[in-house]
Structure formats: structure tokens, C-alpha cells
Symmetry: C2
Subunit: 477 residues, 2 copies
């Protein structure tokens, strides 16, 4: 009787073919953020649709309408909705929804690439595959295709039914996707039991992880308005309340140099640390030197690993980003700015609700501004998205952990990410199903950067991991 | 026997001719800051030289070499050195050095002018002459020519010897002028007894003034450096010391919203207020509403006239101008800036020495930064120019006050300006003679702005004032 082991063996045997398949995808420069490349995003959608259909899946291109980009109105790339039912007992089997994206970040050799970004280069010495999209997110998307192919080659039916939702605008704010999900939650997305996204990375370079949380964000614009026009600081300096002085006074009251948020009530919104959670951070494969090398210098607030990881994953942070309307060029200008807008944001974690955070910040800023005794005026607005958190004890995660143990021989770290992937929140909220982030690549893959790569071992073992996950999730209860 | 009264009468009779002379000058668009207009600055120098020679003065164009402007190397406009000795008793008469400039600020009708900027428009209803350079500084420069002409018309010898130094780069940082003054202090500038510059404005619109002080300035660039490259605030927010947080913490400690400078030792450098001085501020023709209308809104720190004027004229001020290296565009960007430079400046008054101020600020910033406990690094540099102050009890001022009383019937206010005119400091320091700022125009003339104007009454009475001043200064001892 055929088994998953034969599938894994077949994946190993297919190695060169799988690399060739990824190479084919990387050669299509499907950059979503540049109108001149838009045709290649469509080309990539057609390529992926054909691959899915070749494997016996249905595949439909869902149009999203038009957008304005680089001054022209152009067609948005379609989202692919694809269905592949198990051949036997489909009704009794679980249905797993897979999300991925087939667009990529821009890349030019002149940006500092060592090779052509849209040609997959196999570095025999390091065992790495260089190319735009290799790890973000063409490698993982093709990983799913590889899994289906290997099953068919060894004559093993799929242990679950699969639904795919692949988009071509992820690198450009996923324009149109949320609406499409909401529109089809009661038809295409019906019957989904759990969701899996392979579009993030291991924390470091050695140990696999499952990711069950993402921080949300609220972004603030704090405007202080004074005189009706910019003034000469020689003529008016000393006579008038200056918006920049007020802005610096208020913004300096938001966060300490040690990252402590000073807005009353904010820290109280954070879910208390459980001992199970604390244990997870202690166990995580990470060293302060990883942070030092990522930032190029030791500017770490904490010298403690667990505290550092918690600061990134499970606590809020407040960053000051800049000032609009002030002098920002090199050189010297003696201006009193008429009106300035300070920009800052707060990363959110459970149980912080954006609306509550915005209201606390607004109240605090108004109060701090009132203390200044300035005749200028203040206006503050914020907008944002909630954090995403999934239960890591859900069978979806338990299955993924078992699969990881089988492929890599270690228990995966249970991580959370500091940034945001809005679609994870949308799927979780709209479908009300557990969502798993199951990364294929490593922390040093350089997604969005020059010389993006995926290690061949991550691509091949990662493909095996995705396949094994499907079997574990089928067996889970 | 002919007297100054006949000169004044003649000036009145010449009115239309004097307006026509100013119109001729305004029609030459001698914009020094735009390479495309440079030929007109030369044209203006030639025009002025010819006018001076027609009046019997010697006039020499002193070349200043080349400069780089708008990407091209072009010839700097010359400085005019001109000498006009009294016909009789020249050896016994005082020599007064007159400075002025014949270049102007850029102007395009599309900037918001109601008429062509380089055509002098006589508004009969308001009695105003509109045109670029009408008040800054072609009106006053031509005023001196008008005075000489009227003396010659009535057959009255000049009561003093005159030396003129007219430049064509005042609106573009007076490139080359300081060096030229130093170079010729022992030849052309020898024998000067006092200096007069008519290149500023009344405080308001009604009462004439003499100006005997200008604030200096020190400009600071405060750099905070952290990580080696900009970081994503989602991934790193909370883990690292952020340069922006440190910058806001330090810069918020420099000045209060009420304009009080917090750098220890700075305020102690300010010369104590004398009762004579305090009296002057009480007497000054000024109302808070003048400030409100200049700033378009009431953002005044003080509701007291004298305190407001002292804040501008005789106390230092500290303004925050901007941040280089941070996010400054509209919209939202979630960046942790790698390195940012805060810009601020302090306006200086007697007895503040720029070097001392720079050193106090550097010490304070280093100390405040050290308190933050940040692993980022700080670097602060400053540069600046000293304040200028002239003794208003000097015979040069006494003479100007008497002349003002004769022409306008009031004692002039003795004002100081908040901004800087570097050449005033250079002349004072190099020639070690009393320097007087004797304005012709009004506070609302709109120098540097659209619809620059001079009231005909200011042009004609101002011309008479310049002539009367020469007689009073000749009689002074």
C-alpha cells in the first residue's frame, strides 16, 4: 500500500524537476507595483492556472476590476480560485484552504544583485537558489503543486480536499482581495475546515517554526497648526508659539528611549503573559547576535533573549516616523513652520482593539497639548488594523508540529511576528476557522531585498513538510 | 544763501522725475539668484554707474570672480565703489559711507502679483508704487541719487563727502562682499567717519525708526545614529533604541512652548536690560494687532507690547526647524530611521558670543542624551554669526533722529531687528565706525513677497530724510 513515505521519496527524486519548475516561475517578472510589469503578473496567473489544471484542479481567474497606478488606469491582476477534491471519500475528508501569492517585489540587477534577479541561479557551493520570488512567495506556492504531483506519481490519493486562493497583488496592498473574500465566503470558501499560508520565514536560519500571531497597527497623524504661513525665525522667533516646539513637546511624551509606551491605559490592554507562553519564548532558537547582525550594530534595548523576542512578538511598540511640513532637506533653513504633522504608529497585540488605542492616544495627546499653554491648535487622527492571533493548540497547529518533527526532527518554535499580514486577519475573521502560518524559507532569505534566495534544502524539505502536513491534518481531530 | 530747505523743496518739485527714475530701475529685472537673469544684474550695475558718473561721482565696477549657480559657472555681478567729494572744504568735511544693493528677489506675475513685477505701477488711489525692488532696495539707493541731484539743481554743495558701496548679490548671500571689504579697508574705505545703510523698514506703517541692532544666529545640526539601515517598525519596533525617539527626547528639552530657552547658561549671557532701553520699548509704535495680522492669527506668546518687542529685538530665541533623514512625505510609512538630523537655531543678542553658545548647547545636548540610556550615538555641530549692536547715542544716530524730527515731525523709534544683515557686522567690525540703519519704507512693504511696494510719501519724504541726515551729520560733533 502506498504511503506518504513514497511521496517524500518521490519529492527527493523530483529535485531537479522541482528546481526547473521554480526557475520557470521566477523567469516571469510578475512585479505588481509597476504598471510596466503588469502584463507579466497576468502571464504568471495564466501559468499558475495551467499548472493547477494539469494537476486536475479546477481553476478560475476572478477579475478584480481596475486601479490607478503610475498615472494610468490599469486592470488588476486576477485572483485564482482553485478546487481539488480528493478522489475517494471527498465528503468525509477535511478541506484545507491554501493562500499564496504569485506577484513579487520589484528588482533590478543594478539595485545590487549579484545575478539577474529574474533568472533562478543555482549556487552549487552554498546550495542556494537566487532569484526574485524564490522564497517570497513562488517557492512555497509551487511547493503545493509539487506535493500534488508527487501524490499522483506514486498513486496516492490526497488525504484532504484542497482549495487554493492565489493572488497577484500581495506586494501592493492586496487591493481588492478583502472584498473578494467577503463576497465569496458563502460559496467558494464554504466548507473550509482550516487555513494554511506559507508566506513567512523561520525566525533564524536553523530551526523551523509555526507562526500563530501577527501584530496589528494604528497609524497616527498629529497636526499642530499655528501661524497662517511659514515665518522667518529671525523676525518672529520669540514672539509666537511655534508648532514645531509644541509637536516635539507632545511627541516626546509618547514613548521612552527604552520603548516604554507612556500613553496611559495602553499597556493595560495587553493580554497577560501565561507561563506556557513564557516557556515558548525561553525555548525559541534565537540569539542577541542575530539581532545585532540584522541591525548592523548593537542597538538592542534588552540583553535578554526572551525579553527581546517578547518585545517584537507579544508587546506593543511605538515608533516615531517623521514630520510632514517641516524643513527636511540637507542644509540650513531658518523657518518657523506654520503647520506640521507628526507621524507615529503603535504596533498592536492581543487584546488591543484599534479603536480603543486610537481613543486613548487622542485623549492623551489632547491633554498633553493642553498642558503646553500654547495658542496653536492640535488635531490628531489614527487608523489601523487589529492584531491577529491563532490558538497554537488547535489541531491545525498540532498537525503542523507533528509534520515538522517528522521532516526536520525537531519540535518547531511557536513564533509570532512583529509585522502585519492583513489577509490572515481577514480569512480568520470572515471564515472563523483556524489559520496556520507554515513557513518554508529561512530568516535570512532576503525577501524584498537584493539577492533574494531560498536554500534548496528548504525548498525540497519544505515541499515535503507541506505534503506531510496535509496527512497529519487529515489524521488530526 | 541756499540751504537744505531749498533742496527739500526741489525734491518735492522733482517728484514725477524721481518716480520715473525708480521706474527705469525697476524695469531692469536684476534678480541675483537666477542664472538666467544674471545679465540684468550687470545691466543694473552699468545703469547705476552711469547715474553716479552723471552726478559727478567716480564709479568703479569691482569684479568678484565667478560662482556656480544652477549648475553653471557664471561671473558674479560687480560691486560699485563710488566716491563723491564735497566741492569745497572736502578735507574738513566728514565722509559718510553709504551701502545699498541693486539686485532683487525673484518675481513672476504668476506668483500672485496683481501687476507685472518688473514694471513700476503707480496706484493713484493708494499713492503706492508697486514693483519688485521698489522698496528693497532700489528706492532707497536711488534716494541717495535724488539727494545729490537736488543739491546740484539748487547749487548747494554737499555737506559731507560721500562714498558708496553698492552690491548686486545681497539677495544671494552677498557672495564675495566680505572679502572685498577686508581687502579695501585700507584704501577705498579709508577716512570713513560713519556708515549709513537704508535697507530695512519701519516697525509698522506710521512711525519712522532708526535701527541700531540685529540679532545674530547659531545654527545646529544634531545627529542621532542607530542601526546601519532603516528598519521595518513591525519587525524591529520594541527591540531597538530608535534614533527618532532619542531625537525627540533631546530636542524637546531645548525650549519651552513659551519660548524659554532651557540650555543652562544661555540666558545669563544676555546683556541686562537698562531702564533707558526699557523706556524705548514702551515708547515704540507697535500694537499686538500688528503681530496678529502679520501671522494671520493670534499665536503671540505675550499679550504685552514691550515684552513682545523685546522678545524679537533684545532676547535670544530658539526655533526647531526640522528633521533630515526621517519620513517627511504625505501618507504613512512605518520606518525606524537609521540616522536622523534635527535642525534648530538660536538667535543671538549682545553679549552672546557664537562660540560660547555653541559650546553650551553641545555640552547640554551631550548631557541630556547621556540621560536617555540609549545605545545610539549623538553628534552635534553648530555654526553662526554674532549679533550686531550700535550705540544709539552716537552722533550718527543723534543726527538721524534730528533729521527724522524735521521731516516727519516725530522722534523716531529706536528699534532693533530680529533677523541678521551680515554686512552690517562686517562694516562695523572692519572699519570700527558707527553704523546706522535708516529705513525708508514701511513694515508692510512686502519686500521678498508678492506685490512689493513703496508708498510715494515714503519715497519722497524718505529722499528728503536722507538729504537732511547728511546735513545733520555734517553739523554733529
Amino acid at each position: 500500500m502506498t504511503s506518504i513515505d513514497q511521496v517524500l521519496q518521490k519529492i527527493d527524486q523530483n529535485k531537479e524537476k522541482l528546481i526547473a519548475r521554480l526557475a520557470e516561475a521566477v523567469e516571469i517578472p510578475s512585479v505588481s507595483g509597476d504598471a510596466a510589469y503588469r502584463k507579466h503578473v497576468f502571464e504568471m496567473a495564466d501559468w499558475l492556472k495551467a499548472q493547477l489544471e494539469k494537476l486536475g484542479a479546477t481553476a478560475e481567474l476572478k477579475p478584480l476590476g481596475k486601479q490607478n497606478l503610475d498615472g494610468q488606469e490599469i486592470e488588476l491582476p486576477p485572483v485564482i480560485f482553485s478546487d481539488l477534491k480528493a478522489k475517494t471519500d471527498a465528503d468525509k475528508k477535511k478541506t484545507i484552504l491554501i493562500y499564496g501569492h504569485f506577484d513579487v517585489q520589484p528588482a533590478l540587477k543594478s539595485d545590487g544583485w549579484n545575478s539577474e534577479p529574474f533568472k533562478l541561479v543555482h549556487d552549487e557551493k552554498t546550495g542556494r537558489l537566487y532569484g526574485r520570488g524564490s522564497t517570497d512567495d513562488k517557492g512555497p506556492v509551487i511547493g503545493w503543486l509539487n506535493v500534488i504531483e508527487a501524490h499522483q506519481q506514486v498513486g496516492l490519493d490526497l488525504p484532504v480536499n484542497l482549495k487554493f486562493c492565489f493572488e497577484g497583488m500581495e506586494e501592493s496592498s492586496s487591493v481588492g482581495l478583502d472584498d473578494l473574500i467577503r463576497k465569496h465566503k458563502n460559496d467558494f470558501f464554504t466548507g473550509v475546515d482550516a487555513i494554511c499560508i506559507s508566506d513567512n520565514y523561520w525566525l533564524g536560519t536553523k530551526k523551523p517554526c509555526l507562526t500563530h500571531g501577527l501584530r496589528g497597527i494604528t497609524y497616527f497623524k498629529l497636526r499642530i497648526s499655528g501661524p497662517q504661513a511659514d515665518l522667518h525665525s529671525g523676525v518672529f522667533g520669540g514672539m509666537v508659539h511655534e508648532p514645531m516646539t509644541d509637536l516635539f513637546a507632545v511627541m516626546s511624551k509618547l514613548v521612552t528611549p527604552q520603548g516604554e509606551i507612556l500613553v496611559p491605559g495602553i499597556n493595560e490592554l495587553v493580554a497577560p503573559l501565561t507561563s506556557e507562553e513564557a516557556q515558548r519564548f525561553d525555548n525559541m532558537e534565537y540569539a542577541l547576535t542575530d539581532l545585532h547582525s540584522a541591525t548592523g550594530k548593537d542597538v538592542a534595548i534588552n540583553d535578554d533573549k526572551a525579553k527581546t523576542l517578547m518585545a517584537r512578538m507579544r508587546y506593543p511598540s511605538l515608533s516615531l516616523h517623521g514630520v510632514e511640513g517641516a524643513f527636511s532637506a540637507p542644509g540650513a533653513k531658518t523657518v518657523i513652520c506654520a503647520s506640521v504633522i507628526g507621524k507615529f504608529s503603535i504596533r498592536l497585540v492581543p487584546d488591543m482593539k484599534p479603536e480603543k488605542v486610537i481613543s486613548l492616544v487622542q485623549d492623551y495627546v489632547q491633554k498633553e497639548f493642553a498642558k503646553l499653554g500654547s495658542k496653536n491648535t492640535v488635531h490628531i487622527e489614527g487608523e489601523g488594523g487589529a492584531p491577529w492571533y491563532a490558538d497554537p493548540n488547535h489541531w491545525n497547529y498540532v498537525a503542523a508540529a507533528k509534520a515538522t518533527k517528522k521532516i526536520y526532527g525537531v519540535e518547531p518554535d511557536l513564533t509570532r511576528e512583529g509585522g502585519s499580514i492583513p489577509v490572515a486577519l481577514t480569512f480568520s475573521e470572515e471564515l472563523q476557522k483556524n489559520l496556520l502560518l507554515l513557513p518554508m524559507g529561512r530568516g535570512d532569505d532576503g525577501a524584498h531585498s537584493t539577492n533574494e534566495k531560498i536554500d534548496i534544502s528548504n525548498y525540497i524539505e519544505g515541499t515535503k513538510l507541506l505534503g506531510t502536513y496535509l496527512h497529519e491534518v487529515a489524521a488530526a481531530s
